[in-house]
């Protein structure tokens, strides 16, 4: 059976499964729609959270980025898992005790202010759009490669599917669909990883194969990889090129951002009890860890396989480079999407892949008759192309396509739900029209979702970076705006309305401005980016990906200073804080 037909069948079957579940678990009330009626078991919630969480960036891009940047890729691994510790210890149980529908709703009640709610909604919309743009790009890539349509068409198909899907479910539908999507995506991720691990090291567990010896050489995989990449002028795989402060700040921004992402936080509103919220975060991270500990192994093995395909023998020997006419099938198919390209600079008909930016390696390259790197491989294709590069059977490749789509769809659906909840519940019902009926509120939510998906599609069409990097900005924004406001709301009773609003605005504007200045996000039409994105121009040497940490510190400082200079929050708010700190319901008389 041809790969394309097989892919249509596998992807089609997975879609049928998701839609079946969405119909079976339709929402019957607003509580069902926003928080699944608080009836989800901690294990199911953990699994759904994991699917919601693991996006196109985790599934498609992360291992590819790690493959190319080695140790520096650790920022994503630690950053996107460590945040769950913060979430479980500092936020989830208290927000569950608070027991409402959305994050802006918590901000509004804790800071007794509609203005604070509007600010929180603005932060949430900023964060979610940045994030959803990355998902749409991922959907576009998967569709364009496996259903063989242009990226734009892939994007439109993806948008339509997500739209149907997000409108159908509500939180209840989305939760149970995400449980199925988790199973699809983790299976799709693990199967090729196991095959490749066996091929390279003979050890079937990718996490262990990562540290094992390459079969028949007696050298550990990572040592072998270090040798190969340095022999081509690349940086050593196991050490980084980013400055220490930058690695520190990016990791911290991703961790804190994870804990501040509205579509993750809202997950912990759906479990029955406070103690379920704590343990559910543990299950979520356990399910996430299955993929996140496999990803670095996949990254290293993908890099190893890629280089071995191109550089078949000793560096410098002319016949040791792959002849273009003998390029393998995967090379040809990915060339058609434009995501792999070859430019025969020295006209020898062979592919040279090396680091032509390394001045120390230039002399050696010139002796070999090399006139520049001739191969460009888009980082985002590494996971998708990996099974093909390793020569795995077609059903594995079709499975990976279905897994990538599951990852992107589950996250996009979760994000669209928080965007539409923020508009329909926080803006329309909370502020503009408090007496609106449930039915009208749902309609408002659906219209919001439709508009959101069109904007997301546009952003996915012209994204400001690789998928994982676009997503990384959302974390900086979440870290700098929502996280401090929620944390202070629980742990610091003295923080009041004025402080929280001033803090959120400071963090958001500072972080957004810095990213826009160096990278250009939404204002490309106005000439952004204005600054050259180089380390010597950065504030304290911190890149736009890591700047959320400074935004967060500014937020904390401004919020606390302004609060101490203004009057304390009213009595009933202080009582509310006392109440959310304790799992059991607290009587008013105490």
């Amino acid at each position: 059976m041809s790969l394309q037909l097989l892919t249509y069948i596998v992807v089609g079957l997975s879609f049928a499964l998701y839609i079946g579940i969405a119909i079976w678990s339709r929402a019957h009330s607003t509580s069902d729609f926003y928080i699944a009626g608080k009836g989800v078991s901690p294990v199911a919630n953990g699994m759904a959270t994991a699917a919601d969480w693991m996006s196109a960036a985790s599934f498609i891009s992360m291992a590819g980025i790690i493959a190319f940047i080695g140790y520096d890729g650790s920022v994503y691994l630690m950053g996107w898992t460590g945040g769950y510790v913060l979430l479980a210890l500092l936020l989830a149980p208290y927000l569950r005790k608070f027991g409402k529908f959305t994050v802006p709703e918590f901000i509004a009640e804790r800071y007794y202010s509609k203005a604070a709610r509007v600010v929180a909604v603005i932060c949430l919309i900023f964060i979610s759009f940045t994030y959803v743009a990355g998902q749409m790009r991922g959907v576009g890539i998967v569709f364009s490669r496996f259903l063989e349509v242009p990226v734009t068409t892939g994007l439109i198909i993806g948008m339509s599917v997500v739209f149907v899907y997000a409108v159908m479910g509500g939180m209840k539908g989305i939760t149970y669909t995400q449980v199925a999507q988790y199973c699809v995506l983790i299976f799709a991720y693990t199967v090729p990883a196991v095959f490749i691990a066996i091929q390279i090291t003979g050890n079937p567990v990718p996490q262990l194969a990562f540290g094992s010896e390459v079969t028949g050489t007696g050298t550990a995989l990572l040592d072998k990889l270090d040798d190969i990449v340095t022999s081509l002028g690349f940086n050593q795989y196991t050490s980084g090129t980013k400055s220490r402060i930058d690695v520190f700040c990016i990791t911290m921004a991703l961790m804190v951002g994870t804990a501040g992402l509205p579509h993750v936080i809202v997950r912990f509103f759906t479990v029955p009890k406070v103690r379920d919220a704590r343990v559910s975060a543990g299950y979520a991270l356990l399910f996430i860890a299955f993929l996140y500990t496999t990803a670095p192994a996949v990254g290293s093995m993908a890099r190893y396989n890629l280089i071995n395909t191109i550089q078949t023998g000793e560096v410098g020997a002319p016949e040791a480079n792959l002849a273009y006419t003998e390029r393998p099938e995967w090379f040809r198919t990915w060339e058609q999407t434009g995501l792999v390209s070859f430019d025969d600079k020295n006209g020898d008909g062979r592919v040279q892949y090396y680091n032509d930016k390394n001045a120390d390696f230039a002399a050696a390259a010139a002796t070999n008759g090399w006139q520049g790197n001739e191969l460009t491989v888009d980082r985002d294709i590494m996971v998708l192309a990996n099974p093909e590069i390793a020569g795995l059977p077609n059903w594995v490749i079709a499975l990976v396509a279905a897994g990538g789509i599951a990852a992107a769809l589950s996250t996009a659906a979760g994000l669209l739900l928080v965007i539409s909840a923020a508009i329909s519940h926080d803006l329309v019902k909370g502020i503009i029209a408090p007496h609106i009926s449930d039915k009208a509120e749902l309609l408002a939510g659906r219209i919001a979702a439709a508009v959101a998906i069109l904007i997301a599609g546009y952003l996915g069409f012209d994204p400001p970076g690789w998928v994982a990097q676009v997503v990384a900005f959302a974390f900086g924004l979440a870290a700098a705006s929502l996280f401090p406001a929620i944390l202070l709301g629980i742990f610091f009773k003295r923080v009041n309305r004025e402080g929280a609003i001033a803090g959120m605005l400071t963090g958001l504007i500072f972080t957004y401005g810095y990213i826009e200045f160096f990278k250009g996000l939404f204002l490309k039409w106005a000439g952004a980016p204005w600054g050259e994105n180089l380390a010597e121009h950065w504030l304290f040497g911190i890149s736009p990906e890591g700047i959320g940490v400074i935004g967060m510190c500014l937020n904390f400082m401004v919020a606390i200073t302004v609060s101490l200079l203004t009057s304390p929050p009213p009595e009933h708010i202080q009582h509310m804080v006392e109440n959310i700190r304790i799992p059991r319901h607290l009587e008013k008389t105490s």
Partner: protein, 85 residues
């Protein structure tokens, strides 16, 4: 429930959170970022130890840490008689 009892519960909670966050910081920012080069001189099951913490070890510890926190916290809830019925 009086103020002293609430305060005692809250202090016990903060102490546990503090200890867990210390471990959280040590395995990721400590072993994986700040002291990665020193640890990389140590070999561990085919890995350089600092690199292993950055790409594997820290994640395993995070998972264990949350389950440990949830278990201890449930006990603290019961000891202070604030657990859910």
């Amino acid at each position: 429930m009086n103020k002293d009892k609430r305060l005692a519960y809250w202090r016990a909670n903060l102490r546990l959170v503090g200890i867990c966050l210390l471990v959280w910081f040590a395995v990721s920012f400590g072993a994986g970022v700040l002291f990665v080069e020193q640890l990389n001189t140590i070999r561990f099951a085919g890995f350089q130890l600092g690199f292993w913490f950055a790409q594997q070890g820290s994640i395993y510890v995070f998972v264990g840490l949350i389950f440990f926190y949830a278990w201890r916290m449930n006990r603290i809830d019961r000891d202070h008689d604030v657990h859910e019925e």
